[in-house]
């Protein structure tokens, strides 16, 4: 698949501190790309470089195959982590101003704002000042401003931080909708559940280095350990357990079940597959629960980060 954004060998130092150390990422078109990493890993610095707010010391960025140009800000929508609005300015006026800074004409900006305000059901706020709105309300306005100029690339830095669950869900749906409409989305987060739900691709940054990147499904395949969780009933559990332990590598497992099961996690050898295990179990017990253990992004994240440390 063609890449919308390519960052090649980016270095950024602040004095003696290296914020980004040879980081490269490729973001395929019309995908959702998650930039993961603990706090202080360098995610925000990378996003700022893509937005041309700071310049990299070394490295190149390409948008749509061409080196990034100052005019490209018109094709990028950025919702920073540190986000706010002018307190004493009216919502509509402020949204118009920010939209026009992105290059929209006044009439065009107004028309699109009216559409979005209606869509998010916030029309009544047009003449209110930001200081009269709650935090969640202000966040909706910020979201609208970010997407208003229909950028090819949308960048959200910690988009869900500070959102209440209702608004977080609403924004998540909007993000998916925007992807369907053809936008490419890059977002940074350390909240893994949103990554599972949204991301097609991820890159993991830790201590200013990229540790891992690629398609989520492929990474998961790579990280799965041929382990299965089973819940079984047998007449003679003690013998069965003994047999299993001789044959496979077993451990206890925890999952919810309505049966009085023997719950086990069973790791197969590299050349074996699930059929081998099922065949072995079929003759000896009743299988109530059989699931391959697929590592969550959270597990991969923790594993990679602690391995690196």
């Amino acid at each position: 698949m063609e890449n919308l954004l390519v960052a090649e060998n980016i270095y950024k130092r602040f004095g003696n501190f290296t914020a980004l150390n040879n980081v490269s990422i490729n973001i395929p078109k019309e995908s959702i790309f998650g930039l993961l990493g603990p706090n202080g890993a360098g995610k925000t610095t990378l996003l700022r470089i893509i937005n041309q707010i700071t310049m990299p010391d070394e490295g190149k960025i390409y948008l749509d195959g061409k080196p990034l140009h100052p005019d490209d800000i018109a094709h990028i929508g950025y919702l920073p982590e540190e986000r706010g609005l002018y307190k004493s300015m009216k919502v509509g006026e402020q949204a118009l101003y920010l939209a026009r800074l992105k290059g929209l004409s006044k009439a065009e900006a107004k028309e699109r704002l009216e559409y979005w305000f209606k869509r998010l059901d916030i029309e009544a706020w047009w003449d209110k000042k930001i200081q009269e709105l709650s935090k969640g309300m202000a966040q909706k306005v910020q979201f609208v401003i970010t997407v208003l100029h229909r950028p090819k690339l949308l960048i959200f830095d910690e988009p869900f931080s500070g959102f209440d669950p209702v608004n977080a869900n609403l924004i998540k749906d909007e993000i998916l909708q925007l992807k369907d409409e053809g936008a490419t989305i890059l977002f940074s987060t350390h909240r893994m559940e949103s990554v599972e739900e949204l991301c097609d691709y991820i890159a993991l940054i830790h201590k200013s280095k990229k540790l891992l990147d690629g398609k989520v499904s492929e990474i998961k395949k790579e990280y799965k350990s041929n382990t299965y969780e089973v819940g079984i009933n047998a007449a003679d559990e003690v013998t069965l357990l003994k047999e299993l332990e001789d044959r496979f590598q077993t451990g206890p497992a925890r999952f919810k079940s309505i049966q009085e099961d023997l719950k086990l996690s069973i790791k197969l050898k590299d050349h074996e597959n699930s059929n081998d295990l099922i065949q072995f179990l079929l003759s000896r017990a009743r299988i109530n629960h059989f699931v391959e253990v697929i590592p969550s992004v959270n597990d991969i994240f923790i594993k990679t980060v602690t391995q690196d440390a």
């Binding site: 602040f14 700071t54 950025y78 706010g84 609005l85 002018y86």
Partner: protein
């Protein structure tokens, strides 16, 4: 360019619509005119108020020398004894009592005492001392057999006629006028820098604390934002100044004609000197005022005004970007205020005394003080090459400072929760 216009527009409207700004725009001329009126009124009151001073002269020589005037009335208590005189002055709530001891007119120096509720003013004391010492001098001259009236006749007043080598006459009064023009221009610039420079700084801090800054710099270059802020704020400043001048003038003349208070009553050295000047001098003065090179004065005023204001605003903006709140700005304020104050002091002490002296010349070329000091010097006539050097340096410094400020600005606006030191700022320059 389009974005710059948008930013200027927003900054201007944000300043002008601010409630405090509106209140200050209309209240300041009222306060200012009120102050002038009060001072004028008080000095009128002061001049109509008559002090009554008692004299207890044991020698009998001096009592007659104290002449009643518009402001002072003297009462002779010499025939009473001192304690009674003091008692009477106290009871009548007179201003005070002068007591002069017995003295030999030829040899002596009398002991003079002043009793009063308050310490008398400098002028009053000086007047008493002069009256007594003049009388003593005269008495001694008479004793030596010298005709005092001949000495009085021999006195001559001399007035120096000032001309330059080109033969143009000028009045010594005209220096006051030039000083007034230059001083007003310099002072105005300083006020403008402090008021609106601070406004630029506050608006930068506001964007930081509102956390909107990153949203904006993802659309426009920080330098554009900095420039738009300075320009927008200065336009708001010019608007406010214009309102002040118009409203102030209208109010001043309106109220003064309504109340019958003459604002020119306010005593300044210049007006005092003009009041005391002879008619030909005043004619010369009018000629001098008309002869001032207004066109060049005005154009240089504009150049230095813009140059000086930009220079300082850029520094103010950089400071605003470096800090998180206004309370953190204190440590950086001193280096800004210092050259401004220095400029004003050099202007009022050195330029007035010697407009083309070494100190005045140097300070009118150093960029941080040059806008103020040069503005004060220009009415006195400054060689073109000095102005050229000074303006060139000012422009060059402007570019350097804008460039440095922009660097601090673009790093600083994204830094939160750090209290910056000078060392830190220096590091930012290298990012």
């Amino acid at each position: 360019m389009r974005n710059l216009r948008l930013i200027i527009n927003r900054e201007y409207l944000a300043r002008v619509r601010n409630k405090t700004f509106i209140v200050m725009t209309f209240l300041s001329p009222l306060i200012f005119v009120g102050m002038i009126m009060l001072i004028a009124y008080l000095s009128m009151l002061n001049s109509t108020e008559q002090k009554i001073i008692g004299i207890h002269d044991e020698s009998g020589l001096f009592a007659a020398e104290f002449k009643d005037g518009e402001q002072v009335l003297y009462l002779d208590y010499s025939d009473k004894d001192l304690a009674a005189a003091r008692q009477e002055v106290l009871e009548n709530e007179y201003f005070g009592l002068i007591h002069i001891s017995e003295v030999s007119p030829i040899l002596g120096k009398p002991e003079v005492e002043f009793f009063g509720k308050d310490t008398p003013g400098f002028g009053t004391i000086e007047n008493i001392e002069k009256t007594i010492s003049d009388k003593l001098t005269r008495e001694q001259l008479i004793a030596k057999g010298i005709d005092v009236s001949e000495i009085d006749k021999a006195r001559r007043n001399v007035s120096v006629e000032i001309q330059n080598f080109a033969g143009e006459h000028s009045s010594k009064m005209s220096n006051y006028i030039k000083m007034f023009f230059g001083g007003a221009a310099g002072y105005l610039l300083m006020m403008f820098i402090i008021i609106y420079g601070n406004m630029v700084m506050r608006s930068v801090i506001e964007e930081k604390t509102n956390r909107i800054i990153e949203i904006i710099v993802s659309s426009v270059k920080p330098f554009q934002l900095l420039l738009g802020k300075v320009l927008g704020t200065s336009l708001a400043g010019i608007t406010q100044f214009t309102v002040w001048v118009i409203l102030g003038t209208v109010l001043l003349f309106g109220i003064s004609s309504f109340l019958g208070i003459d604002p020119t009553n306010v005593q300044t050295p210049a007006s005092a000197a003009i009041n005391g000047a002879a008619q030909p001098e005043i004619n010369q003065l009018v000629v001098d005022i008309l002869k001032l090179p207004y066109a060049s004065l005005l154009s240089f005023f504009v150049v230095y005004f813009i140059g000086g204001y930009f220079l300082y605003s850029a520094i103010y903006a950089a400071i605003g970007a470096a800090v998180d709140s206004e309370t953190d700005t204190q440590q950086f304020m001193f280096p800004i205020i210092l050259p401004l104050i220095l400029g004003i002091y050099v202007g009022f002490f050195s330029v007035v005394e010697n407009p083309h002296g070494t100190v005045s010349t140097i300070f009118s070329i150093i960029p941080l003080t040059s806008p103020i000091v040069m503005l004060m010097r220009i009415p006195f006539g400054v060689p073109w090459w000095e102005i050229a050097i000074s303006i060139t340096l000012l422009i060059a410094t402007n570019f350097t400072v804008l460039w440095l400020s922009a660097k601090i600005y673009r790093v600083g606006i994204l830094m939160y929760g750090k209290k910056p030191t000078y060392k830190e700022l220096y590091k930012w320059l290298k990012y």
